[in-house]
Protein backbone atom coordinates (compact mmCIF):
# COMPACT_ATOMS: atom_id res chain seq x y z
CA UNK A 1 0.00 0.00 0.00
CA UNK A 2 1.27 3.45 -0.79
CA UNK A 3 1.84 6.21 1.73
CA UNK A 4 -1.11 8.22 0.41
CA UNK A 5 -3.52 5.31 0.89
CA UNK A 6 -2.29 4.71 4.44
CA UNK A 7 -2.66 8.36 5.36
CA UNK A 8 -6.15 8.55 3.82
CA UNK A 9 -7.27 5.40 5.61
CA UNK A 10 -5.98 6.62 8.93
CA UNK A 11 -7.90 9.87 8.49
CA UNK A 12 -11.09 8.07 7.48
CA UNK A 13 -10.95 5.95 10.63
CA UNK A 14 -11.78 9.02 12.77
CA UNK A 15 -15.24 10.58 12.93
CA UNK A 16 -13.94 14.10 12.34
CA UNK A 17 -11.85 12.75 9.48
CA UNK A 18 -14.97 11.39 7.79
CA UNK A 19 -16.65 14.78 8.23
CA UNK A 20 -13.65 16.56 6.76
CA UNK A 21 -13.26 14.25 3.76
CA UNK A 22 -17.00 14.28 3.01
CA UNK A 23 -17.30 18.08 3.18
CA UNK A 24 -14.21 18.62 1.01
CA UNK A 25 -15.33 15.92 -1.46
CA UNK A 26 -18.76 17.51 -1.71
CA UNK A 27 -17.15 20.89 -2.28
CA UNK A 28 -15.16 19.61 -5.27
CA UNK A 29 -18.17 17.72 -6.62
CA UNK A 30 -20.53 20.70 -6.40
CA UNK A 31 -17.89 22.92 -8.00
CA UNK A 32 -17.61 20.58 -10.97
CA UNK A 33 -21.39 20.21 -11.32
CA UNK A 34 -21.92 23.96 -11.12
CA UNK A 35 -19.69 24.45 -14.15
CA UNK A 36 -22.33 22.76 -16.34
CA UNK A 37 -25.56 22.92 -14.31
CA UNK A 38 -27.22 25.01 -11.61
CA UNK A 39 -30.88 24.62 -10.53
CA UNK A 40 -31.75 28.05 -11.95
CA UNK A 41 -29.85 30.29 -14.30
CA UNK A 42 -27.70 32.82 -12.40
CA UNK A 43 -29.10 35.66 -14.42
CA UNK A 44 -32.77 34.62 -14.26
CA UNK A 45 -33.87 37.61 -12.20
CA UNK A 46 -37.48 38.46 -11.49
CA UNK A 47 -38.53 41.77 -9.98
CA UNK A 48 -41.70 40.23 -8.51
CA UNK A 49 -39.82 37.43 -6.78
CA UNK A 50 -37.32 39.32 -4.58
CA UNK A 51 -36.39 38.07 -1.07
CA UNK A 52 -38.72 35.07 -1.32
CA UNK A 53 -38.71 32.47 1.42
CA UNK A 54 -37.43 28.99 0.51
CA UNK A 55 -39.84 27.14 -1.80
CA UNK A 56 -39.88 24.09 -4.06
CA UNK A 57 -38.60 26.19 -6.93
CA UNK A 58 -36.02 28.17 -4.93
CA UNK A 59 -34.69 25.88 -2.21
CA UNK A 60 -32.94 28.64 -0.31
CA UNK A 61 -35.18 31.47 -1.50
CA UNK A 62 -34.22 34.40 -3.72
CA UNK A 63 -32.04 37.47 -3.23
CA UNK A 64 -32.68 41.19 -3.82
CA UNK A 65 -32.73 40.82 -7.60
CA UNK A 66 -34.96 37.76 -7.55
CA UNK A 67 -32.07 35.43 -8.45
CA UNK A 68 -31.87 31.95 -6.90
CA UNK A 69 -29.67 31.93 -3.76
CA UNK A 70 -28.79 28.23 -4.04
CA UNK A 71 -27.62 28.58 -7.65
CA UNK A 72 -25.34 31.48 -6.75
CA UNK A 73 -23.86 29.57 -3.83
CA UNK A 74 -23.26 26.52 -6.03
CA UNK A 75 -21.61 28.62 -8.72
CA UNK A 76 -19.61 30.40 -6.02
CA UNK A 77 -18.08 27.13 -4.86
CA UNK A 78 -15.95 26.80 -7.99
CA UNK A 79 -14.67 30.38 -7.72
CA UNK A 80 -13.70 29.71 -4.12
CA UNK A 81 -12.10 26.37 -5.01
CA UNK A 82 -10.06 28.09 -7.71
CA UNK A 83 -8.95 30.86 -5.33
CA UNK A 84 -7.96 28.38 -2.62
CA UNK A 85 -6.03 26.13 -4.99
CA UNK A 86 -4.18 28.96 -6.73
CA UNK A 87 -3.29 30.68 -3.45
CA UNK A 88 -1.98 27.43 -1.98
CA UNK A 89 -0.04 26.62 -5.14
CA UNK A 90 1.59 30.05 -5.15
CA UNK A 91 2.35 29.77 -1.44
CA UNK A 92 3.98 26.35 -1.95
CA UNK A 93 6.12 27.59 -4.84
CA UNK A 94 7.22 30.75 -3.02
CA UNK A 95 7.78 28.84 0.21
CA UNK A 96 10.02 26.28 -1.48
CA UNK A 97 11.92 28.98 -3.35
CA UNK A 98 12.59 30.88 -0.11
CA UNK A 99 13.51 27.67 1.67
CA UNK A 100 16.04 26.83 -1.02
CA UNK A 101 17.53 30.31 -0.69
CA UNK A 102 17.66 29.91 3.11
CA UNK A 103 19.64 26.68 2.75
CA UNK A 104 21.95 28.02 0.05
CA UNK A 105 25.66 27.46 0.54
CA UNK A 106 26.13 31.17 -0.09
CA UNK A 107 26.00 32.49 3.49
CA UNK A 108 25.04 36.01 2.48
CA UNK A 109 22.03 34.83 0.46
CA UNK A 110 20.92 32.44 3.20
CA UNK A 111 21.20 34.91 6.07
CA UNK A 112 19.71 37.71 3.96
CA UNK A 113 16.63 35.66 3.10
CA UNK A 114 16.08 34.76 6.74
CA UNK A 115 16.08 38.37 7.94
CA UNK A 116 13.97 39.66 5.07
CA UNK A 117 11.36 36.95 5.68
CA UNK A 118 11.41 37.76 9.39
CA UNK A 119 10.82 41.43 8.70
CA UNK A 120 8.12 40.96 6.04
CA UNK A 121 6.17 38.39 7.99
CA UNK A 122 4.64 41.02 10.24
CA UNK A 123 2.94 42.65 7.25
CA UNK A 124 -0.73 41.62 7.22
CA UNK A 125 -2.14 40.02 4.09
CA UNK A 126 -4.85 42.63 3.79
CA UNK A 127 -2.27 45.40 3.51
CA UNK A 128 -0.61 43.55 0.63
CA UNK A 129 -4.04 43.15 -0.93
CA UNK A 130 -4.71 46.88 -0.61
CA UNK A 131 -1.37 47.71 -2.25
CA UNK A 132 -2.21 45.36 -5.12
CA UNK A 133 -5.76 46.69 -5.40
CA UNK A 134 -4.49 50.19 -6.18
CA UNK A 135 -3.26 49.24 -9.66
CA UNK A 136 -5.30 46.04 -10.25
CA UNK A 137 -8.73 47.05 -8.94
CA UNK A 138 -11.04 44.42 -7.46
CA UNK A 139 -10.02 41.05 -8.91
CA UNK A 140 -9.37 37.43 -8.03
CA UNK A 141 -5.68 38.07 -8.70
CA UNK A 142 -5.53 40.45 -5.72
CA UNK A 143 -6.70 37.69 -3.37
CA UNK A 144 -4.52 34.97 -4.88
CA UNK A 145 -1.30 37.01 -4.99
CA UNK A 146 -1.63 38.59 -1.55
CA UNK A 147 -2.54 35.29 0.12
CA UNK A 148 0.11 33.41 -1.85
CA UNK A 149 2.85 35.81 -0.75
CA UNK A 150 1.69 35.97 2.87
CA UNK A 151 1.31 32.21 3.31
CA UNK A 152 4.49 31.50 1.32
CA UNK A 153 6.56 33.63 3.73
CA UNK A 154 4.89 31.89 6.64
CA UNK A 155 5.52 28.46 5.17
CA UNK A 156 9.21 29.10 4.64
CA UNK A 157 9.58 30.29 8.21
CA UNK A 158 7.79 27.29 9.67
CA UNK A 159 9.58 24.53 7.77
CA UNK A 160 13.05 26.08 8.02
CA UNK A 161 14.04 24.46 11.36
CA UNK A 162 13.10 21.00 10.05
CA UNK A 163 14.91 21.60 6.78
CA UNK A 164 18.03 22.69 8.67
CA UNK A 165 17.85 19.55 10.78
CA UNK A 166 17.58 17.37 7.66
CA UNK A 167 20.38 19.25 5.90
CA UNK A 168 22.71 18.62 8.83
CA UNK A 169 21.75 14.97 9.24
CA UNK A 170 24.05 11.99 8.76
CA UNK A 171 22.21 10.75 5.66
CA UNK A 172 22.56 14.14 3.97
CA UNK A 173 26.25 14.07 4.86
CA UNK A 174 26.57 10.54 3.50
CA UNK A 175 24.89 11.59 0.24
CA UNK A 176 27.31 14.49 0.03
CA UNK A 177 30.24 12.18 0.57
CA UNK A 178 28.93 10.08 -2.30
CA UNK A 179 29.14 13.11 -4.55
CA UNK A 180 25.52 14.32 -4.57
CA UNK A 181 25.07 18.01 -5.36
CA UNK A 182 23.03 20.53 -3.39
CA UNK A 183 19.92 20.12 -5.55
CA UNK A 184 20.10 16.33 -5.33
CA UNK A 185 20.19 16.50 -1.52
CA UNK A 186 17.35 19.03 -1.48
CA UNK A 187 15.14 16.74 -3.60
CA UNK A 188 16.06 13.38 -2.06
CA UNK A 189 16.52 14.21 1.61
CA UNK A 190 15.21 17.61 2.60
CA UNK A 191 11.90 17.72 0.70
CA UNK A 192 10.59 14.37 1.99
CA UNK A 193 11.38 15.57 5.51
CA UNK A 194 9.47 18.83 5.27
CA UNK A 195 6.58 17.39 3.21
CA UNK A 196 4.30 16.50 6.15
CA UNK A 197 4.62 19.94 7.76
CA UNK A 198 4.06 21.57 4.39
CA UNK A 199 0.92 19.55 3.73
CA UNK A 200 -0.51 20.49 7.12
CA UNK A 201 0.33 24.16 6.70
CA UNK A 202 -1.06 24.34 3.17
CA UNK A 203 -4.30 22.74 4.28
CA UNK A 204 -4.69 25.41 6.96
CA UNK A 205 -3.75 28.10 4.44
CA UNK A 206 -6.46 26.93 2.04
CA UNK A 207 -8.99 27.65 4.79
CA UNK A 208 -7.49 31.02 5.59
CA UNK A 209 -7.65 31.92 1.90
CA UNK A 210 -11.41 31.33 1.98
CA UNK A 211 -11.74 33.66 4.97
CA UNK A 212 -9.59 36.24 3.18
CA UNK A 213 -11.84 35.92 0.13
CA UNK A 214 -14.98 36.79 2.08
CA UNK A 215 -13.27 39.68 3.89
CA UNK A 216 -11.60 41.22 0.84
CA UNK A 217 -14.70 40.81 -1.33
CA UNK A 218 -16.76 42.58 1.33
CA UNK A 219 -14.22 45.43 1.36
CA UNK A 220 -14.64 45.74 -2.39
CA UNK A 221 -11.09 44.72 -3.35
CA UNK A 222 -11.67 40.99 -3.85
CA UNK A 223 -13.94 39.14 -6.25
CA UNK A 224 -15.49 41.75 -8.60
CA UNK A 225 -19.26 42.18 -8.65
CA UNK A 226 -21.08 39.88 -11.04
CA UNK A 227 -18.73 36.97 -10.38
CA UNK A 228 -20.35 34.39 -8.08
CA UNK A 229 -18.47 33.58 -4.87
CA UNK A 230 -19.41 32.84 -1.28
CA UNK A 231 -17.95 36.12 -0.12
CA UNK A 232 -20.00 37.88 -2.78
CA UNK A 233 -23.21 36.15 -1.61
CA UNK A 234 -22.39 37.09 1.98
CA UNK A 235 -21.54 40.70 1.14
CA UNK A 236 -24.67 41.34 -0.91
CA UNK A 237 -26.96 40.09 1.84
CA UNK A 238 -25.31 42.21 4.56
CA UNK A 239 -27.19 45.41 3.74
CA UNK A 240 -30.54 43.70 4.17
CA UNK A 241 -29.83 41.93 7.42
CA UNK A 242 -32.61 43.81 9.23
CA UNK A 243 -35.22 42.69 6.75
CA UNK A 244 -34.05 39.26 5.59
CA UNK A 245 -31.80 37.74 8.23
CA UNK A 246 -32.14 34.20 6.86
CA UNK A 247 -30.31 34.84 3.57
CA UNK A 248 -27.24 35.89 5.57
CA UNK A 249 -27.12 32.54 7.28
CA UNK A 250 -26.32 30.26 4.33
CA UNK A 251 -23.13 31.69 2.79
CA UNK A 252 -21.55 32.21 6.23
CA UNK A 253 -22.48 28.72 7.33
CA UNK A 254 -21.00 27.31 4.12
CA UNK A 255 -17.68 29.15 4.51
CA UNK A 256 -17.43 28.21 8.19
CA UNK A 257 -18.11 24.54 7.49
CA UNK A 258 -15.56 24.27 4.70
CA UNK A 259 -12.92 26.14 6.72
CA UNK A 260 -13.58 23.84 9.70
CA UNK A 261 -13.15 20.86 7.37
CA UNK A 262 -9.84 22.22 6.09
CA UNK A 263 -8.60 22.93 9.64
CA UNK A 264 -9.60 19.47 10.85
CA UNK A 265 -7.96 18.01 7.75
CA UNK A 266 -4.73 19.83 8.66
CA UNK A 267 -4.80 18.60 12.25
CA UNK A 268 -5.46 15.01 11.21
CA UNK A 269 -2.80 15.11 8.48
CA UNK A 270 -0.32 16.06 11.17
CA UNK A 271 -1.08 12.86 13.06
CA UNK A 272 -1.61 10.61 10.05
CA UNK A 273 1.66 11.61 8.35
CA UNK A 274 3.77 11.26 11.48
CA UNK A 275 5.47 7.84 11.67
CA UNK A 276 5.64 8.20 15.47
CA UNK A 277 1.87 8.29 15.88
CA UNK A 278 0.92 6.19 12.85
CA UNK A 279 2.31 2.65 13.16
CA UNK A 280 1.22 1.67 9.62
CA UNK A 281 3.71 4.15 8.17
CA UNK A 282 6.50 2.54 10.18
CA UNK A 283 5.60 -0.86 8.76
CA UNK A 284 5.82 0.55 5.23
CA UNK A 285 9.26 1.96 5.89
CA UNK A 286 10.46 -1.33 7.35
Amino acid sequence: MTTVAIVARSMWSRAEGKFSILVLGLWVLVSLVSLVWTPQSLWATDGYQVWKAPSAQHWLGTDGTGADVLSWLMAGSHTNLLISLLAVLLAALLGLLLLTAMLASNQLLAAGTVVVVDALISLPTVLLALMLAVPLGPSIAVIVISCGIGYGLNLARIVRPQALLAAGSDYALSAKANGAGGWRIMLDHILPNVMPTMAVQLSLSAGTALLAESGLTYLGIGVPSGVPSWGHSLATSVKFIDVFPLTVLWPGLLVTMVVVALNVCGDLLRQAMDPVSNPELRKLAA
Binding site: S122, L211, G252
Partner: protein, 331 residues
Protein backbone atom coordinates in the same frame (compact mmCIF):
# COMPACT_ATOMS: atom_id res chain seq x y z
CA UNK B 1 23.15 44.62 21.17
CA UNK B 2 24.56 43.52 17.83
CA UNK B 3 21.35 41.64 17.18
CA UNK B 4 19.30 44.74 17.96
CA UNK B 5 21.34 46.86 15.61
CA UNK B 6 21.20 44.35 12.78
CA UNK B 7 17.47 43.82 13.20
CA UNK B 8 16.93 47.59 13.19
CA UNK B 9 18.95 48.01 10.02
CA UNK B 10 16.83 45.37 8.31
CA UNK B 11 13.70 47.19 9.51
CA UNK B 12 14.80 50.43 7.89
CA UNK B 13 15.81 48.71 4.66
CA UNK B 14 12.52 46.80 4.41
CA UNK B 15 10.65 50.04 5.02
CA UNK B 16 12.52 51.74 2.18
CA UNK B 17 11.78 48.82 -0.13
CA UNK B 18 8.11 48.93 0.78
CA UNK B 19 7.89 52.68 0.23
CA UNK B 20 9.24 52.13 -3.27
CA UNK B 21 6.67 49.37 -3.88
CA UNK B 22 3.80 51.55 -2.69
CA UNK B 23 5.05 54.46 -4.79
CA UNK B 24 5.14 52.26 -7.90
CA UNK B 25 1.77 50.60 -7.12
CA UNK B 26 0.06 53.99 -7.03
CA UNK B 27 1.68 55.06 -10.31
CA UNK B 28 1.31 52.02 -12.57
CA UNK B 29 -2.40 52.62 -12.82
CA UNK B 30 -3.71 52.49 -16.35
CA UNK B 31 -3.85 56.13 -17.35
CA UNK B 32 -2.30 59.01 -15.56
CA UNK B 33 -2.65 59.65 -11.85
CA UNK B 34 -3.96 63.21 -12.11
CA UNK B 35 -6.78 62.33 -14.51
CA UNK B 36 -7.79 59.33 -12.40
CA UNK B 37 -7.94 61.52 -9.32
CA UNK B 38 -9.76 64.37 -11.04
CA UNK B 39 -12.50 62.02 -12.22
CA UNK B 40 -13.94 60.97 -15.55
CA UNK B 41 -15.55 64.19 -16.73
CA UNK B 42 -12.99 66.68 -15.47
CA UNK B 43 -11.97 69.40 -17.96
CA UNK B 44 -8.34 69.18 -19.17
CA UNK B 45 -7.43 72.46 -17.37
CA UNK B 46 -8.46 70.95 -14.03
CA UNK B 47 -6.38 67.82 -14.69
CA UNK B 48 -3.45 70.03 -15.66
CA UNK B 49 -3.82 72.16 -12.53
CA UNK B 50 -3.99 69.06 -10.34
CA UNK B 51 -0.92 67.62 -12.00
CA UNK B 52 1.25 70.62 -11.24
CA UNK B 53 -0.31 71.06 -7.79
CA UNK B 54 0.71 67.51 -6.82
CA UNK B 55 4.03 67.75 -8.60
CA UNK B 56 3.13 64.89 -10.93
CA UNK B 57 4.68 66.66 -13.91
CA UNK B 58 8.14 66.20 -12.49
CA UNK B 59 10.32 63.13 -13.19
CA UNK B 60 9.54 60.02 -11.10
CA UNK B 61 12.76 59.81 -9.04
CA UNK B 62 12.26 63.47 -8.15
CA UNK B 63 8.68 62.75 -7.02
CA UNK B 64 9.81 59.82 -4.92
CA UNK B 65 12.53 61.79 -3.18
CA UNK B 66 10.14 64.67 -2.46
CA UNK B 67 7.65 62.23 -0.96
CA UNK B 68 10.34 60.65 1.21
CA UNK B 69 11.63 64.05 2.35
CA UNK B 70 8.08 65.10 3.24
CA UNK B 71 7.56 61.89 5.19
CA UNK B 72 10.80 62.44 7.08
CA UNK B 73 9.58 65.91 8.08
CA UNK B 74 6.29 64.38 9.23
CA UNK B 75 4.31 65.90 6.35
CA UNK B 76 2.05 63.18 4.97
CA UNK B 77 0.28 65.30 2.39
CA UNK B 78 -3.27 66.51 2.15
CA UNK B 79 -6.41 64.59 1.30
CA UNK B 80 -7.86 65.90 -1.96
CA UNK B 81 -11.40 65.11 -0.93
CA UNK B 82 -11.55 66.72 2.49
CA UNK B 83 -8.60 69.07 2.22
CA UNK B 84 -7.44 68.00 5.67
CA UNK B 85 -3.90 66.88 6.28
CA UNK B 86 -3.51 63.13 6.15
CA UNK B 87 -1.78 62.93 9.53
CA UNK B 88 -4.71 64.62 11.29
CA UNK B 89 -7.14 62.36 9.46
CA UNK B 90 -5.16 59.26 10.41
CA UNK B 91 -4.95 60.45 14.01
CA UNK B 92 -8.75 60.79 14.22
CA UNK B 93 -9.24 57.34 12.76
CA UNK B 94 -6.62 55.76 15.00
CA UNK B 95 -8.59 57.07 18.00
CA UNK B 96 -11.31 54.62 16.96
CA UNK B 97 -9.24 51.70 15.66
CA UNK B 98 -6.73 51.34 18.49
CA UNK B 99 -9.29 51.27 21.30
CA UNK B 100 -11.27 48.78 19.18
CA UNK B 101 -8.27 46.51 18.72
CA UNK B 102 -7.17 46.93 22.34
CA UNK B 103 -10.60 46.00 23.63
CA UNK B 104 -10.79 43.08 21.19
CA UNK B 105 -7.38 41.83 22.33
CA UNK B 106 -8.44 42.07 25.96
CA UNK B 107 -11.60 40.04 25.29
CA UNK B 108 -9.53 37.54 23.31
CA UNK B 109 -7.11 37.03 26.21
CA UNK B 110 -9.87 36.76 28.80
CA UNK B 111 -11.51 34.06 26.69
CA UNK B 112 -8.50 32.43 25.07
CA UNK B 113 -6.02 31.84 27.90
CA UNK B 114 -8.30 30.17 30.50
CA UNK B 115 -10.24 28.23 27.88
CA UNK B 116 -7.00 27.04 26.29
CA UNK B 117 -5.84 25.73 29.67
CA UNK B 118 -9.27 24.21 30.25
CA UNK B 119 -9.24 22.34 26.93
CA UNK B 120 -6.10 20.52 28.08
CA UNK B 121 -6.66 20.20 31.82
CA UNK B 122 -10.39 19.57 32.30
CA UNK B 123 -10.86 16.19 33.93
CA UNK B 124 -13.97 15.27 31.95
CA UNK B 125 -13.17 14.25 28.37
CA UNK B 126 -16.41 15.75 26.98
CA UNK B 127 -15.48 19.18 28.39
CA UNK B 128 -12.11 18.99 26.65
CA UNK B 129 -13.68 18.02 23.32
CA UNK B 130 -16.42 20.63 23.58
CA UNK B 131 -13.96 23.44 24.26
CA UNK B 132 -11.73 22.22 21.43
CA UNK B 133 -14.63 22.11 18.96
CA UNK B 134 -15.66 25.63 20.02
CA UNK B 135 -12.13 26.84 19.36
CA UNK B 136 -12.02 25.32 15.88
CA UNK B 137 -15.45 26.60 14.84
CA UNK B 138 -14.81 30.05 16.33
CA UNK B 139 -11.54 30.38 14.43
CA UNK B 140 -13.14 29.27 11.17
CA UNK B 141 -15.85 31.92 10.98
CA UNK B 142 -15.50 34.84 8.59
CA UNK B 143 -15.31 38.00 10.77
CA UNK B 144 -18.11 39.47 8.70
CA UNK B 145 -20.42 36.60 9.51
CA UNK B 146 -19.52 36.52 13.19
CA UNK B 147 -20.37 40.23 13.38
CA UNK B 148 -23.67 39.67 11.61
CA UNK B 149 -24.65 36.93 14.04
CA UNK B 150 -23.85 39.21 16.97
CA UNK B 151 -25.95 41.96 15.40
CA UNK B 152 -28.83 39.52 15.00
CA UNK B 153 -28.51 38.56 18.66
CA UNK B 154 -27.70 41.77 20.53
CA UNK B 155 -28.15 44.89 18.44
CA UNK B 156 -30.66 47.60 19.14
CA UNK B 157 -33.27 47.60 16.40
CA UNK B 158 -32.73 44.30 14.63
CA UNK B 159 -31.44 42.01 17.39
CA UNK B 160 -33.30 39.56 19.57
CA UNK B 161 -32.00 41.35 22.67
CA UNK B 162 -31.74 45.05 21.88
CA UNK B 163 -28.80 46.07 24.05
CA UNK B 164 -25.93 47.54 22.02
CA UNK B 165 -25.88 49.98 19.11
CA UNK B 166 -24.69 48.38 15.87
CA UNK B 167 -24.19 51.36 13.56
CA UNK B 168 -21.69 54.18 13.83
CA UNK B 169 -19.48 55.67 16.52
CA UNK B 170 -20.76 57.90 19.35
CA UNK B 171 -21.72 61.37 18.06
CA UNK B 172 -19.39 63.29 20.35
CA UNK B 173 -16.46 60.88 19.89
CA UNK B 174 -14.35 60.40 23.01
CA UNK B 175 -15.75 63.54 24.68
CA UNK B 176 -18.53 61.20 25.81
CA UNK B 177 -16.41 58.20 26.85
CA UNK B 178 -19.31 56.09 28.06
CA UNK B 179 -21.20 56.30 24.81
CA UNK B 180 -18.04 55.85 22.75
CA UNK B 181 -17.11 52.71 24.64
CA UNK B 182 -20.68 51.42 24.40
CA UNK B 183 -20.61 51.68 20.61
CA UNK B 184 -17.38 49.67 20.51
CA UNK B 185 -18.76 46.71 22.48
CA UNK B 186 -20.23 44.67 19.62
CA UNK B 187 -17.35 45.27 17.17
CA UNK B 188 -14.78 44.44 19.84
CA UNK B 189 -16.71 41.32 20.82
CA UNK B 190 -16.69 40.19 17.18
CA UNK B 191 -12.91 40.58 16.99
CA UNK B 192 -12.35 39.19 20.48
CA UNK B 193 -14.33 36.00 19.93
CA UNK B 194 -12.56 35.15 16.69
CA UNK B 195 -9.06 36.02 17.89
CA UNK B 196 -9.82 34.38 21.24
CA UNK B 197 -10.66 31.14 19.48
CA UNK B 198 -7.29 30.97 17.77
CA UNK B 199 -5.48 32.08 20.94
CA UNK B 200 -7.19 29.17 22.67
CA UNK B 201 -5.68 26.71 20.20
CA UNK B 202 -2.22 28.23 20.52
CA UNK B 203 -2.38 28.15 24.31
CA UNK B 204 -3.43 24.51 24.19
CA UNK B 205 -0.71 23.58 21.71
CA UNK B 206 1.99 25.45 23.62
CA UNK B 207 1.00 23.83 26.91
CA UNK B 208 0.76 20.39 25.29
CA UNK B 209 4.35 20.82 24.07
CA UNK B 210 5.38 21.56 27.63
CA UNK B 211 3.72 18.41 29.00
CA UNK B 212 6.44 16.13 27.69
CA UNK B 213 9.37 18.36 28.62
CA UNK B 214 11.99 17.83 31.28
CA UNK B 215 10.94 21.03 33.04
CA UNK B 216 7.63 19.40 33.82
CA UNK B 217 9.24 16.20 35.10
CA UNK B 218 11.37 18.34 37.39
CA UNK B 219 8.33 20.23 38.70
CA UNK B 220 6.49 16.96 39.27
CA UNK B 221 9.51 15.53 41.05
CA UNK B 222 9.40 18.55 43.37
CA UNK B 223 5.93 17.48 44.36
CA UNK B 224 3.61 19.59 42.23
CA UNK B 225 0.46 18.08 40.79
CA UNK B 226 0.13 17.88 37.01
CA UNK B 227 -2.25 20.85 36.84
CA UNK B 228 -0.21 22.88 39.29
CA UNK B 229 3.01 22.20 37.39
CA UNK B 230 1.44 23.14 34.07
CA UNK B 231 0.04 26.41 35.34
CA UNK B 232 3.09 27.42 37.40
CA UNK B 233 5.95 26.14 35.24
CA UNK B 234 4.44 25.29 31.86
CA UNK B 235 2.60 28.56 31.34
CA UNK B 236 5.68 30.58 32.29
CA UNK B 237 7.79 28.65 29.78
CA UNK B 238 5.15 28.94 27.08
CA UNK B 239 4.85 32.68 27.67
CA UNK B 240 7.44 33.92 25.13
CA UNK B 241 5.74 31.87 22.43
CA UNK B 242 2.36 33.29 23.38
CA UNK B 243 3.74 36.84 23.35
CA UNK B 244 4.85 36.22 19.76
CA UNK B 245 1.42 34.94 18.87
CA UNK B 246 -0.25 37.95 20.45
CA UNK B 247 2.02 40.38 18.62
CA UNK B 248 1.41 38.84 15.24
CA UNK B 249 -2.26 38.46 16.06
CA UNK B 250 -2.36 42.15 16.81
CA UNK B 251 -1.05 42.85 13.32
CA UNK B 252 -3.51 40.46 11.76
CA UNK B 253 -6.36 41.97 13.74
CA UNK B 254 -6.25 44.99 11.50
CA UNK B 255 -7.65 42.74 8.75
CA UNK B 256 -10.57 41.74 10.92
CA UNK B 257 -10.81 45.31 12.14
CA UNK B 258 -11.23 46.59 8.57
CA UNK B 259 -14.19 44.31 7.97
CA UNK B 260 -15.66 44.98 11.40
CA UNK B 261 -15.28 48.76 11.04
CA UNK B 262 -17.11 48.67 7.73
CA UNK B 263 -19.85 46.43 9.07
CA UNK B 264 -20.47 48.58 12.15
CA UNK B 265 -19.92 51.85 10.23
CA UNK B 266 -17.06 52.96 12.52
CA UNK B 267 -14.80 55.74 11.17
CA UNK B 268 -11.56 53.82 11.74
CA UNK B 269 -8.23 53.33 9.94
CA UNK B 270 -9.36 50.31 7.93
CA UNK B 271 -12.70 51.64 6.74
CA UNK B 272 -11.04 54.99 6.07
CA UNK B 273 -8.33 53.49 3.88
CA UNK B 274 -10.86 51.44 1.94
CA UNK B 275 -13.08 54.44 1.31
CA UNK B 276 -10.10 56.58 0.27
CA UNK B 277 -9.20 53.86 -2.19
CA UNK B 278 -12.77 53.81 -3.48
CA UNK B 279 -12.71 57.61 -3.84
CA UNK B 280 -9.39 57.45 -5.68
CA UNK B 281 -7.85 59.82 -3.14
CA UNK B 282 -4.51 58.31 -4.08
CA UNK B 283 -2.12 60.74 -2.41
CA UNK B 284 -3.83 59.97 0.90
CA UNK B 285 -3.84 56.23 0.10
CA UNK B 286 -0.12 56.32 -0.63
CA UNK B 287 0.76 57.88 2.72
CA UNK B 288 -1.74 55.81 4.69
CA UNK B 289 -0.44 52.56 3.21
CA UNK B 290 3.08 53.57 4.14
CA UNK B 291 2.11 54.50 7.70
CA UNK B 292 0.30 51.21 8.24
CA UNK B 293 3.16 49.19 6.76
CA UNK B 294 5.65 51.04 8.95
CA UNK B 295 3.48 50.43 11.99
CA UNK B 296 3.28 46.68 11.41
CA UNK B 297 6.98 46.30 10.73
CA UNK B 298 7.61 48.17 13.97
CA UNK B 299 5.24 45.87 15.88
CA UNK B 300 7.07 42.87 14.41
CA UNK B 301 10.37 44.39 15.51
CA UNK B 302 9.12 45.03 19.04
CA UNK B 303 7.67 41.53 19.33
CA UNK B 304 11.03 40.06 18.37
CA UNK B 305 12.68 42.21 21.06
CA UNK B 306 10.17 41.26 23.76
CA UNK B 307 10.44 37.64 22.74
CA UNK B 308 14.19 37.80 23.34
CA UNK B 309 13.78 39.54 26.68
CA UNK B 310 11.16 37.08 27.87
CA UNK B 311 13.13 34.04 26.77
CA UNK B 312 16.74 34.00 28.01
CA UNK B 313 17.27 30.69 26.22
CA UNK B 314 17.20 32.49 22.85
CA UNK B 315 19.82 34.99 23.96
CA UNK B 316 22.06 32.20 25.17
CA UNK B 317 21.69 30.41 21.86
CA UNK B 318 22.75 33.64 20.15
CA UNK B 319 20.75 32.88 17.05
CA UNK B 320 18.82 35.80 15.62
CA UNK B 321 15.64 35.13 13.77
CA UNK B 322 13.21 32.35 13.23
CA UNK B 323 11.42 30.86 16.14
CA UNK B 324 8.29 28.92 15.49
CA UNK B 325 6.03 31.23 13.61
CA UNK B 326 2.43 31.34 14.57
CA UNK B 327 0.37 33.53 12.42
CA UNK B 328 -3.31 33.34 11.89
CA UNK B 329 -5.15 35.44 9.40
CA UNK B 330 -8.64 36.49 10.25
CA UNK B 331 -10.41 38.10 7.40
Amino acid sequence: MRFLFRRFLILVMTLLGLSLLIFVAVRILPGDLASVMAGLNAPPERVEALRSQLGLDRPLPDQYLTWMADLARGDFGRSLLTGRSVSVQVGDRAAVTFPLIGLGLLIAMVIGLPMGCLSLLASKPWVRSLVHVLAIVGGSMPALWGGLLLILLFSRGSGLLGIFPSQGFAQGGWSTPGKALWSLVLPALTLGLIIGASLMRYTRAALADMLGSGYMDMARACGMTRTHALLRVGLRLALPQLVSVLGLTFAEMITGAMVVENLFALPGLGSGLVSDLGNRDLIAVQSELFMLAAFFLLVGFLVDMIHRLADPRLKAAGEGGSGTSTRQVTA
